[in-house]
Protein backbone atom coordinates (compact mmCIF):
# COMPACT_ATOMS: atom_id res chain seq x y z
CA UNK A 1 0.00 0.00 0.00
CA UNK A 2 1.53 3.28 -1.10
CA UNK A 3 2.00 6.11 1.39
CA UNK A 4 0.62 9.50 0.37
CA UNK A 5 3.14 12.28 0.95
CA UNK A 6 2.73 16.02 0.42
CA UNK A 7 5.49 18.46 -0.50
CA UNK A 8 7.26 20.44 0.90
CA UNK A 9 8.71 17.79 3.20
CA UNK A 10 9.26 18.13 6.94
CA UNK A 11 11.97 16.30 8.90
CA UNK A 12 9.29 14.12 10.49
CA UNK A 13 7.99 12.99 7.12
CA UNK A 14 11.51 12.38 5.80
CA UNK A 15 12.40 10.29 8.84
CA UNK A 16 9.20 8.24 8.53
CA UNK A 17 10.16 7.04 5.04
CA UNK A 18 12.13 3.79 4.65
CA UNK A 19 13.92 2.45 1.59
CA UNK A 20 11.51 0.31 -0.42
CA UNK A 21 8.40 2.29 0.59
CA UNK A 22 6.07 3.03 -2.28
CA UNK A 23 5.02 6.67 -2.19
CA UNK A 24 2.50 8.83 -4.05
CA UNK A 25 3.81 12.40 -4.00
CA UNK A 26 1.57 15.44 -4.36
CA UNK A 27 2.35 19.13 -4.36
CA UNK A 28 5.07 21.32 -5.86
CA UNK A 29 8.36 19.88 -7.08
CA UNK A 30 11.07 21.71 -9.02
CA UNK A 31 12.96 20.31 -11.98
CA UNK A 32 16.70 20.67 -12.36
CA UNK A 33 19.33 18.66 -14.16
CA UNK A 34 23.00 19.09 -15.07
CA UNK A 35 23.14 22.66 -16.40
CA UNK A 36 20.65 24.05 -13.85
CA UNK A 37 22.53 22.39 -10.98
CA UNK A 38 25.76 23.96 -12.15
CA UNK A 39 24.12 27.40 -12.21
CA UNK A 40 22.38 26.98 -8.83
CA UNK A 41 25.64 26.04 -7.15
CA UNK A 42 27.47 28.93 -8.85
CA UNK A 43 24.77 31.29 -7.55
CA UNK A 44 25.17 29.91 -4.03
CA UNK A 45 28.94 30.37 -4.15
CA UNK A 46 28.48 33.98 -5.26
CA UNK A 47 25.91 34.57 -2.51
CA UNK A 48 23.12 35.30 -5.00
CA UNK A 49 19.43 34.59 -4.34
CA UNK A 50 18.19 31.35 -5.90
CA UNK A 51 15.14 31.30 -8.19
CA UNK A 52 13.33 29.11 -5.65
CA UNK A 53 13.42 28.48 -1.93
CA UNK A 54 15.22 25.21 -1.24
CA UNK A 55 14.03 24.61 2.33
CA UNK A 56 11.84 21.50 2.48
CA UNK A 57 11.67 21.25 -1.30
CA UNK A 58 11.96 18.34 -3.70
CA UNK A 59 13.96 18.46 -6.93
CA UNK A 60 12.98 16.16 -9.80
CA UNK A 61 15.86 15.31 -12.15
CA UNK A 62 14.02 15.58 -15.45
CA UNK A 63 14.26 17.29 -18.80
CA UNK A 64 10.76 16.91 -20.20
CA UNK A 65 9.62 16.79 -23.80
CA UNK A 66 7.70 19.84 -25.01
CA UNK A 67 3.92 19.49 -24.57
CA UNK A 68 1.78 18.59 -27.56
CA UNK A 69 -1.28 20.83 -27.91
CA UNK A 70 -3.62 19.86 -25.07
CA UNK A 71 -0.87 18.46 -22.85
CA UNK A 72 0.45 20.07 -19.64
CA UNK A 73 3.91 18.69 -20.31
CA UNK A 74 5.45 16.15 -22.66
CA UNK A 75 6.92 12.82 -21.54
CA UNK A 76 8.70 13.38 -18.25
CA UNK A 77 10.54 10.47 -16.67
CA UNK A 78 13.65 10.68 -14.47
CA UNK A 79 17.20 11.12 -15.70
CA UNK A 80 20.32 9.50 -14.18
CA UNK A 81 20.88 11.09 -10.77
CA UNK A 82 24.59 10.37 -10.45
CA UNK A 83 25.48 13.26 -12.75
CA UNK A 84 24.07 15.64 -10.15
CA UNK A 85 26.18 14.14 -7.34
CA UNK A 86 28.93 16.80 -7.46
CA UNK A 87 26.31 19.49 -6.76
CA UNK A 88 23.85 17.69 -4.49
CA UNK A 89 25.50 17.89 -1.03
CA UNK A 90 25.59 21.70 -1.12
CA UNK A 91 21.88 21.84 -2.04
CA UNK A 92 21.02 19.43 0.78
CA UNK A 93 23.02 21.57 3.16
CA UNK A 94 20.89 24.52 2.04
CA UNK A 95 17.65 22.76 2.95
CA UNK A 96 16.77 20.48 0.02
CA UNK A 97 14.78 17.57 1.50
CA UNK A 98 14.03 15.31 -1.43
CA UNK A 99 15.26 14.27 -4.84
CA UNK A 100 13.51 12.25 -7.53
CA UNK A 101 15.67 10.45 -10.06
CA UNK A 102 17.02 7.09 -11.06
CA UNK A 103 20.29 5.29 -10.49
CA UNK A 104 23.10 5.15 -7.99
CA UNK A 105 24.34 7.96 -5.72
CA UNK A 106 27.84 8.61 -4.40
CA UNK A 107 28.70 8.08 -0.71
CA UNK A 108 29.08 11.85 -0.15
CA UNK A 109 25.47 12.39 -1.23
CA UNK A 110 24.26 9.66 1.13
CA UNK A 111 26.33 11.16 3.96
CA UNK A 112 24.74 14.58 3.37
CA UNK A 113 21.29 12.94 3.32
CA UNK A 114 21.95 11.34 6.70
CA UNK A 115 23.43 14.47 8.21
CA UNK A 116 20.73 16.91 7.06
CA UNK A 117 17.79 14.45 6.80
CA UNK A 118 16.89 14.12 3.14
CA UNK A 119 15.37 11.35 1.05
CA UNK A 120 16.08 10.03 -2.46
CA UNK A 121 13.01 8.87 -4.37
CA UNK A 122 13.21 6.68 -7.46
CA UNK A 123 10.91 7.07 -10.40
CA UNK A 124 10.97 4.42 -13.10
CA UNK A 125 13.24 5.34 -16.00
CA UNK A 126 11.57 5.09 -19.40
CA UNK A 127 8.07 5.61 -18.02
CA UNK A 128 7.82 9.17 -19.32
CA UNK A 129 4.47 8.88 -21.09
CA UNK A 130 2.70 7.57 -17.98
CA UNK A 131 4.48 9.84 -15.48
CA UNK A 132 3.56 12.97 -17.47
CA UNK A 133 -0.10 12.27 -16.69
CA UNK A 134 0.56 12.83 -12.98
CA UNK A 135 1.87 16.35 -13.61
CA UNK A 136 -0.98 18.82 -13.42
CA UNK A 137 0.82 22.15 -13.89
CA UNK A 138 4.18 23.13 -15.35
CA UNK A 139 5.79 26.55 -15.48
CA UNK A 140 9.35 27.57 -16.32
CA UNK A 141 10.65 29.70 -13.43
CA UNK A 142 14.36 30.01 -14.28
CA UNK A 143 16.96 29.61 -17.02
CA UNK A 144 14.51 29.42 -19.97
CA UNK A 145 17.50 29.64 -22.33
CA UNK A 146 18.49 26.12 -21.25
CA UNK A 147 15.48 24.67 -23.08
CA UNK A 148 14.75 21.21 -21.66
CA UNK A 149 17.24 21.94 -18.87
CA UNK A 150 15.33 25.00 -17.59
CA UNK A 151 13.98 24.94 -14.04
CA UNK A 152 10.25 24.16 -14.03
CA UNK A 153 7.88 24.46 -11.11
CA UNK A 154 5.66 21.40 -11.38
CA UNK A 155 2.50 20.50 -9.51
CA UNK A 156 2.21 16.76 -9.25
CA UNK A 157 -0.66 14.61 -8.03
CA UNK A 158 -0.12 11.05 -6.78
CA UNK A 159 3.22 10.92 -8.55
CA UNK A 160 4.45 7.31 -8.08
CA UNK A 161 7.93 6.91 -6.60
CA UNK A 162 9.81 4.41 -4.45
CA UNK A 163 12.09 5.40 -1.58
CA UNK A 164 15.49 4.48 -3.00
CA UNK A 165 17.78 5.76 -0.25
CA UNK A 166 16.32 6.87 3.06
CA UNK A 167 17.66 9.38 5.59
CA UNK A 168 19.25 6.50 7.51
CA UNK A 169 21.40 5.55 4.52
CA UNK A 170 19.56 2.36 3.57
CA UNK A 171 19.96 1.81 -0.18
CA UNK A 172 17.30 -0.18 -2.04
CA UNK A 173 19.66 -0.82 -4.97
CA UNK A 174 22.14 -2.60 -2.73
CA UNK A 175 19.43 -4.56 -0.91
CA UNK A 176 17.62 -5.55 -4.13
CA UNK A 177 20.71 -6.68 -6.02
CA UNK A 178 22.06 -8.64 -3.04
CA UNK A 179 18.79 -10.57 -2.93
CA UNK A 180 19.10 -11.79 -6.53
CA UNK A 181 22.80 -11.93 -7.40
CA UNK A 182 24.27 -15.36 -8.03
CA UNK A 183 27.89 -14.32 -8.72
Amino acid sequence: MAKRVLTPLTDDVVLSLKSGDEVLLSGVVYTARDAAHKRLVEMISKGEALPMELKGQVIYYVGPCPPKPGQVIGSAGPTTSGRMDPYTPILIERGLKGMIGKGLRKPEVIEAMKKYKAVYFLAIGGLGALLAKRIKKAEVIAFPELGPEAVYKLEVEDFPVIVGIDAYGNDLYVEGVNRYKVI
Binding site: G63, K102, G103, L104, G126, A129, Y173
Partner: protein, 282 residues
Protein backbone atom coordinates in the same frame (compact mmCIF):
# COMPACT_ATOMS: atom_id res chain seq x y z
CA UNK B 1 19.37 5.28 -66.71
CA UNK B 2 20.44 6.37 -63.26
CA UNK B 3 17.62 6.52 -60.71
CA UNK B 4 17.13 9.91 -59.11
CA UNK B 5 15.75 10.89 -55.75
CA UNK B 6 14.98 14.43 -54.64
CA UNK B 7 16.24 15.58 -51.22
CA UNK B 8 12.69 16.66 -50.25
CA UNK B 9 11.73 13.01 -50.10
CA UNK B 10 14.69 12.30 -47.81
CA UNK B 11 13.77 15.23 -45.53
CA UNK B 12 10.17 14.09 -45.07
CA UNK B 13 11.19 10.45 -44.61
CA UNK B 14 13.72 11.30 -41.88
CA UNK B 15 11.17 13.58 -40.18
CA UNK B 16 8.67 10.72 -40.06
CA UNK B 17 11.26 8.20 -38.88
CA UNK B 18 12.35 10.42 -35.96
CA UNK B 19 8.76 10.71 -34.72
CA UNK B 20 7.95 7.04 -35.29
CA UNK B 21 11.10 5.88 -33.50
CA UNK B 22 10.43 8.11 -30.47
CA UNK B 23 6.78 7.10 -30.08
CA UNK B 24 6.49 3.48 -31.19
CA UNK B 25 8.52 0.72 -29.58
CA UNK B 26 9.36 -1.93 -32.21
CA UNK B 27 7.29 -5.10 -31.97
CA UNK B 28 10.33 -7.30 -31.29
CA UNK B 29 11.23 -5.18 -28.25
CA UNK B 30 7.66 -5.42 -26.93
CA UNK B 31 7.83 -9.19 -27.33
CA UNK B 32 11.20 -9.34 -25.58
CA UNK B 33 9.73 -7.38 -22.64
CA UNK B 34 6.78 -9.80 -22.47
CA UNK B 35 9.14 -12.80 -22.57
CA UNK B 36 11.23 -11.30 -19.76
CA UNK B 37 8.10 -11.22 -17.58
CA UNK B 38 8.11 -15.01 -17.61
CA UNK B 39 11.71 -15.17 -16.36
CA UNK B 40 11.56 -12.43 -13.75
CA UNK B 41 11.10 -13.66 -10.19
CA UNK B 42 11.20 -10.35 -8.31
CA UNK B 43 7.65 -9.04 -7.66
CA UNK B 44 8.87 -5.45 -7.98
CA UNK B 45 10.73 -6.39 -11.18
CA UNK B 46 7.59 -7.90 -12.70
CA UNK B 47 5.62 -4.85 -11.71
CA UNK B 48 8.19 -2.59 -13.38
CA UNK B 49 8.18 -4.60 -16.64
CA UNK B 50 4.37 -4.48 -16.73
CA UNK B 51 4.49 -0.70 -16.32
CA UNK B 52 7.07 -0.39 -19.10
CA UNK B 53 4.79 -2.36 -21.44
CA UNK B 54 1.82 -0.17 -20.47
CA UNK B 55 3.91 2.98 -20.98
CA UNK B 56 4.93 1.85 -24.49
CA UNK B 57 1.30 1.11 -25.35
CA UNK B 58 0.16 4.54 -24.12
CA UNK B 59 2.98 6.27 -26.04
CA UNK B 60 2.00 4.52 -29.25
CA UNK B 61 -1.75 5.14 -28.84
CA UNK B 62 -1.40 8.79 -27.85
CA UNK B 63 1.46 9.59 -30.20
CA UNK B 64 3.84 10.77 -27.48
CA UNK B 65 7.46 9.79 -26.76
CA UNK B 66 8.06 6.55 -24.83
CA UNK B 67 10.83 8.34 -22.93
CA UNK B 68 11.57 12.05 -22.58
CA UNK B 69 15.16 11.35 -23.62
CA UNK B 70 14.53 11.23 -27.34
CA UNK B 71 18.26 10.97 -27.75
CA UNK B 72 21.02 12.07 -30.00
CA UNK B 73 19.84 11.01 -33.45
CA UNK B 74 22.05 8.30 -34.89
CA UNK B 75 21.34 7.72 -38.58
CA UNK B 76 22.61 4.73 -40.54
CA UNK B 77 22.51 5.25 -44.28
CA UNK B 78 22.92 2.61 -46.96
CA UNK B 79 23.35 4.45 -50.21
CA UNK B 80 23.04 2.50 -53.46
CA UNK B 81 25.93 3.46 -55.72
CA UNK B 82 23.59 3.78 -58.73
CA UNK B 83 21.32 6.32 -57.04
CA UNK B 84 21.64 10.01 -57.83
CA UNK B 85 20.52 12.50 -55.18
CA UNK B 86 19.21 15.78 -56.65
CA UNK B 87 18.11 19.11 -55.21
CA UNK B 88 20.72 19.35 -52.45
CA UNK B 89 23.10 17.47 -50.19
CA UNK B 90 22.32 14.17 -48.52
CA UNK B 91 23.58 15.18 -45.06
CA UNK B 92 21.82 18.56 -45.16
CA UNK B 93 18.62 16.72 -46.03
CA UNK B 94 19.03 14.27 -43.15
CA UNK B 95 19.67 17.07 -40.68
CA UNK B 96 16.69 19.05 -41.98
CA UNK B 97 14.56 15.93 -41.47
CA UNK B 98 15.85 15.60 -37.90
CA UNK B 99 15.15 19.28 -37.25
CA UNK B 100 11.56 18.99 -38.50
CA UNK B 101 10.97 15.69 -36.74
CA UNK B 102 12.09 16.97 -33.36
CA UNK B 103 10.20 20.26 -33.68
CA UNK B 104 6.99 19.00 -35.30
CA UNK B 105 6.94 15.83 -33.23
CA UNK B 106 7.33 17.67 -29.89
CA UNK B 107 10.46 15.64 -29.14
CA UNK B 108 13.10 16.83 -26.69
CA UNK B 109 16.08 18.64 -28.14
CA UNK B 110 19.07 17.11 -26.39
CA UNK B 111 22.11 18.15 -28.42
CA UNK B 112 24.67 20.79 -27.36
CA UNK B 113 27.05 22.27 -29.93
CA UNK B 114 30.24 22.65 -27.90
CA UNK B 115 30.74 19.51 -25.82
CA UNK B 116 33.35 21.05 -23.50
CA UNK B 117 32.80 24.71 -22.70
CA UNK B 118 29.56 26.42 -23.78
CA UNK B 119 27.37 23.31 -24.01
CA UNK B 120 24.70 25.40 -25.73
CA UNK B 121 21.62 23.52 -26.92
CA UNK B 122 21.33 23.65 -30.73
CA UNK B 123 17.55 23.86 -30.31
CA UNK B 124 16.61 21.33 -32.98
CA UNK B 125 18.56 18.18 -32.05
CA UNK B 126 20.93 18.61 -34.99
CA UNK B 127 23.48 17.63 -36.02
CA UNK B 128 22.70 13.94 -36.29
CA UNK B 129 25.47 11.36 -36.00
CA UNK B 130 25.47 9.88 -39.51
CA UNK B 131 27.16 6.72 -40.78
CA UNK B 132 27.08 5.96 -44.48
CA UNK B 133 27.77 2.75 -46.34
CA UNK B 134 27.85 2.72 -50.12
CA UNK B 135 26.21 -0.47 -51.33
CA UNK B 136 25.26 -2.02 -54.69
CA UNK B 137 21.92 -1.00 -56.22
CA UNK B 138 19.89 2.17 -56.57
CA UNK B 139 18.05 2.34 -53.27
CA UNK B 140 18.52 4.43 -50.16
CA UNK B 141 17.97 2.78 -46.78
CA UNK B 142 17.74 5.07 -43.76
CA UNK B 143 17.66 3.82 -40.18
CA UNK B 144 17.09 6.25 -37.32
CA UNK B 145 18.24 5.18 -33.85
CA UNK B 146 17.59 7.80 -31.16
CA UNK B 147 20.17 7.04 -28.47
CA UNK B 148 19.42 8.11 -24.91
CA UNK B 149 22.25 9.18 -22.64
CA UNK B 150 21.44 7.12 -19.55
CA UNK B 151 22.55 3.99 -21.35
CA UNK B 152 25.04 5.62 -23.75
CA UNK B 153 27.07 6.98 -20.82
CA UNK B 154 27.66 3.46 -19.54
CA UNK B 155 29.27 2.06 -22.70
CA UNK B 156 32.95 1.09 -22.81
CA UNK B 157 35.79 0.13 -25.14
CA UNK B 158 38.81 -1.97 -24.29
CA UNK B 159 41.76 -3.04 -26.40
CA UNK B 160 42.10 -6.70 -25.43
CA UNK B 161 44.99 -8.83 -26.67
CA UNK B 162 44.57 -12.11 -28.58
CA UNK B 163 45.57 -14.15 -25.50
CA UNK B 164 42.54 -12.80 -23.63
CA UNK B 165 40.30 -14.95 -25.85
CA UNK B 166 36.53 -15.37 -25.42
CA UNK B 167 36.91 -15.38 -21.63
CA UNK B 168 38.41 -11.88 -21.79
CA UNK B 169 35.46 -10.64 -23.83
CA UNK B 170 33.02 -12.23 -21.42
CA UNK B 171 34.68 -10.70 -18.35
CA UNK B 172 34.83 -7.24 -19.92
CA UNK B 173 31.15 -7.25 -20.91
CA UNK B 174 30.00 -8.54 -17.51
CA UNK B 175 32.16 -5.97 -15.71
CA UNK B 176 30.77 -3.15 -17.88
CA UNK B 177 27.18 -4.16 -17.06
CA UNK B 178 28.03 -4.52 -13.37
CA UNK B 179 29.56 -1.05 -13.15
CA UNK B 180 26.55 0.39 -15.04
CA UNK B 181 24.13 -1.05 -12.47
CA UNK B 182 20.79 0.70 -12.57
CA UNK B 183 21.98 3.65 -14.68
CA UNK B 184 21.29 2.34 -18.22
CA UNK B 185 17.63 1.54 -17.36
CA UNK B 186 17.60 -2.26 -17.35
CA UNK B 187 16.36 -4.61 -18.66
CA UNK B 188 18.93 -3.69 -21.30
CA UNK B 189 20.11 -4.95 -24.67
CA UNK B 190 23.88 -5.36 -24.95
CA UNK B 191 25.60 -4.58 -28.25
CA UNK B 192 29.14 -5.94 -28.49
CA UNK B 193 31.59 -5.16 -31.29
CA UNK B 194 34.71 -7.30 -31.58
CA UNK B 195 37.58 -6.78 -34.01
CA UNK B 196 38.62 -4.15 -36.55
CA UNK B 197 40.17 -1.14 -34.85
CA UNK B 198 39.10 0.78 -31.77
CA UNK B 199 36.50 2.92 -33.56
CA UNK B 200 35.35 0.06 -35.78
CA UNK B 201 34.54 -2.05 -32.73
CA UNK B 202 32.56 0.83 -31.25
CA UNK B 203 30.52 1.25 -34.42
CA UNK B 204 29.87 -2.51 -34.62
CA UNK B 205 28.58 -2.45 -31.05
CA UNK B 206 26.08 0.27 -31.99
CA UNK B 207 24.97 -1.49 -35.18
CA UNK B 208 24.44 -4.67 -33.16
CA UNK B 209 21.44 -2.92 -31.58
CA UNK B 210 19.61 -2.98 -34.90
CA UNK B 211 19.36 -6.77 -34.88
CA UNK B 212 15.96 -8.20 -33.93
CA UNK B 213 16.08 -8.56 -30.13
CA UNK B 214 17.37 -11.97 -29.11
CA UNK B 215 17.98 -13.24 -32.64
CA UNK B 216 21.21 -15.25 -32.36
CA UNK B 217 24.31 -14.57 -34.48
CA UNK B 218 24.33 -16.86 -37.56
CA UNK B 219 27.70 -18.40 -36.52
CA UNK B 220 26.91 -21.01 -33.81
CA UNK B 221 30.19 -20.29 -31.96
CA UNK B 222 29.28 -16.63 -31.65
CA UNK B 223 25.66 -17.43 -30.84
CA UNK B 224 26.94 -19.63 -28.03
CA UNK B 225 29.16 -16.84 -26.70
CA UNK B 226 26.15 -14.49 -26.77
CA UNK B 227 24.15 -17.01 -24.73
CA UNK B 228 26.97 -17.51 -22.22
CA UNK B 229 27.44 -13.76 -21.70
CA UNK B 230 23.70 -13.24 -21.27
CA UNK B 231 23.59 -15.97 -18.66
CA UNK B 232 26.52 -14.46 -16.74
CA UNK B 233 25.08 -10.95 -16.91
CA UNK B 234 21.76 -12.16 -15.55
CA UNK B 235 23.52 -13.68 -12.56
CA UNK B 236 24.50 -10.17 -11.45
CA UNK B 237 21.04 -9.71 -9.90
CA UNK B 238 20.73 -6.11 -11.09
CA UNK B 239 17.25 -6.72 -12.52
CA UNK B 240 14.64 -4.30 -13.88
CA UNK B 241 15.66 -0.70 -13.05
CA UNK B 242 18.53 -2.08 -11.00
CA UNK B 243 16.27 -2.87 -8.05
CA UNK B 244 17.12 -6.56 -8.04
CA UNK B 245 15.96 -9.42 -10.22
CA UNK B 246 16.75 -12.08 -12.78
CA UNK B 247 16.37 -10.03 -15.96
CA UNK B 248 19.21 -7.51 -16.19
CA UNK B 249 19.57 -7.96 -19.95
CA UNK B 250 17.12 -9.21 -22.56
CA UNK B 251 19.75 -10.02 -25.21
CA UNK B 252 23.42 -9.89 -26.15
CA UNK B 253 24.21 -9.19 -29.80
CA UNK B 254 27.82 -9.62 -30.94
CA UNK B 255 29.08 -8.30 -34.28
CA UNK B 256 32.54 -9.12 -35.64
CA UNK B 257 35.13 -7.69 -38.01
CA UNK B 258 38.55 -9.05 -39.04
CA UNK B 259 41.37 -7.46 -37.07
CA UNK B 260 45.15 -7.05 -36.80
CA UNK B 261 47.28 -10.04 -35.72
CA UNK B 262 48.07 -8.22 -32.47
CA UNK B 263 44.58 -6.89 -31.66
CA UNK B 264 41.22 -7.84 -30.20
CA UNK B 265 39.31 -4.59 -29.66
CA UNK B 266 36.02 -5.00 -27.79
CA UNK B 267 33.34 -2.33 -27.49
CA UNK B 268 30.12 -2.50 -25.51
CA UNK B 269 27.10 -0.32 -26.21
CA UNK B 270 24.36 -0.59 -23.64
CA UNK B 271 20.81 0.06 -24.79
CA UNK B 272 17.98 0.80 -22.36
CA UNK B 273 14.70 -1.12 -22.51
CA UNK B 274 13.30 1.60 -24.79
CA UNK B 275 15.29 0.15 -27.70
CA UNK B 276 14.00 2.49 -30.34
CA UNK B 277 14.71 2.52 -34.05
CA UNK B 278 12.83 2.96 -37.29
CA UNK B 279 13.85 2.45 -40.90
CA UNK B 280 12.70 3.13 -44.43
CA UNK B 281 13.88 2.20 -47.91
CA UNK B 282 13.49 4.77 -50.69
Amino acid sequence: MVREIHVDQIVSTVEGLCIKAANILPQDVMEALRRSLEREESPMGKNIINLLIENAQVASTEGVPICQDTGVTVVFVELGQDLHIVGGNLYDAINEGVRRGYINGYLRKSVVSDPIFDRKNTGDNTPAVIYTDVVPGDRLKITVLPKGAGSENMGAVKMLIPADGPQGIKSFVVETVKVAGSNPCPPIIIGVGVGGTMEKAALLSKRALLRKVGEPHPDPKIANLEREILEEVNKLGIGPQGLGGRVTAMAVHIELWPTHIACMPVAVTLQCHAARHAEAVL
